[in-house]
């Protein structure tokens, strides 16, 4: 009971505390006069989930503990029974027709609650838990997306280090193309000069060959011309004579 007094006091103070927190610091100063406890701006402590224990749904446990040293375990029950009998017998509590209807109604209610209470409570708790789970999921998703954003930013920063490759490639290409052009020019000059010199040489060669052939044919022609018909007949007769001599010699040889 005392603890519940403290708790209810805390509960009534808690909204006041919350309101005090919402007011500005100036307003808090004036409100401070009415608070006797220390105004703690810490987050409100979580409210207890279950109330204090009670017997018969009405009488708190602390009462039984209060009477236990003097009257033992059965003390409060005796007190209760005695009180009820006293009220009935002295007609402080009058028996009317409503008493029986209320007994029936309350009995039915107690039966219903005892039988279906836990499952209904479970269902309600599940609804609450679903809401909490959704919120938790939203929170985790939010954290994850921010982490992903951070990681992507870090990756982009890492890529910045490699940007210079782009320009290296371009510079390489430029240098290579210049070098290729230069070398091609060198080669071209060499080729052209060599071609010209070779041309001269081949022209000379052709001219000389033509001269040779011409001279040979001219010499032949002139020799043939210079052989007159007379000389030709003489030459042929001499050849025949020589041949006959040779034939005789040749015939003579094998005989030997």
């Amino acid at each position: 009971m005392l603890s519940r007094v403290v708790l209810s006091a805390a509960a009534t103070e808690a909204p006041a505390l919350k309101n005090a927190a919402l007011l500005g610091p100036g307003a808090l100063q004036t409100a401070r006069i009415f608070h006797t406890g220390q105004p703690s701006l810490a987050p409100v402590p979580p409210l207890p989930e279950y109330g204090g224990k009670v017997r018969f749904g009405l009488i708190p446990e602390e009462f039984f503990q209060f009477l236990y040293p003097k009257t033992g375990v059965t003390g409060p029950y005796m007190l209760g029974t005695g009180l009820i009998l006293y009220f009935l017998s002295k007609e402080i509590y009058v028996v009317t027709a409503e008493m029986f209807s209320s007994i029936a109604t309350i009995g039915l209610l107690i039966y219903g609650i005892k039988k279906y209470g836990p499952s209904v409570a479970e269902f309600a708790d599940k609804l609450n838990e679903d809401k909490l789970a959704k919120l938790e999921e939203a929170k985790q998703a939010s954290i994850k997306s921010i982490q992903d954003a951070i990681d992507m930013e870090k990756a982009q920063q890492a890529l910045v280090q490699k940007r210079h490759y782009l320009f290296d490639v371009q510079r390489n290409n430029i240098a290579m193309s210049l070098e290729v052009t230069y070398r091609e020019r060198l080669h071209r000059v060499y080729r052209e000069v060599k071609n010209r010199l070779d041309y001269h040489i081949s022209v000379q060669n052709v001219a000389r060959r033509k001269e040779q052939e011409h001279m040979i044919s001219w010499v032949e022609k002139s020799v043939v011309q210079s052989i007159s018909a007379q000389q030709e007949r003489e030459t042929i007769a001499k050849c025949i004579q020589d041949l006959q001599l040779l034939a005789k010699k040749a015939q003579a040889q094998p005989v030997m």
């Binding site: 920063q157 890529l159 001269h200």
Partner: protein, 161 residues
Amino acid sequence: MAGRKLALKAIDWIAFGEIIPPNQKAVANSLKAWSEALTSRLAVLPEAPPAIDWAYYKANVATAGLVDDFEKKFKALKIPVPEDKFTALVDAEEKEDVKTCAEFVSLSKTRIEEYEKQVVRMRNIIPFDQMTLDDLNEVFPETKLDKTKYPYWPHRPIESL
């Protein structure tokens, strides 16, 4: 004439591929293709052409003085090195790029700080089963019901329920 040193930087093609944004892949591929074509052409061409055998030509060409003339002119000929107008442009571009990258990195760092602050805030909220609706509206401002725009319960358009 010959004997110029060609200073080429080694390129890491994988890194080059990484930094290209997807909408410029075609340009990057053409750069790479150019680079490879040029390397192969460079490999084919020897650094200097072979020397011309002047003695042979002098002995064999009949026209007097022609070979000497050629030789003199050939030795006097200096082939111009093609001038490099473009490396300066590339260098200027690179400097600008370095500046924009530094800017981006600093912006990115501020963004990362903000994100980290948000993450810390998210991690430090009280557990949901100890929150009130006011606390929830503080952490997730989008859950706050607009009571001026929708003065009647449920304080939001029916379709969004």
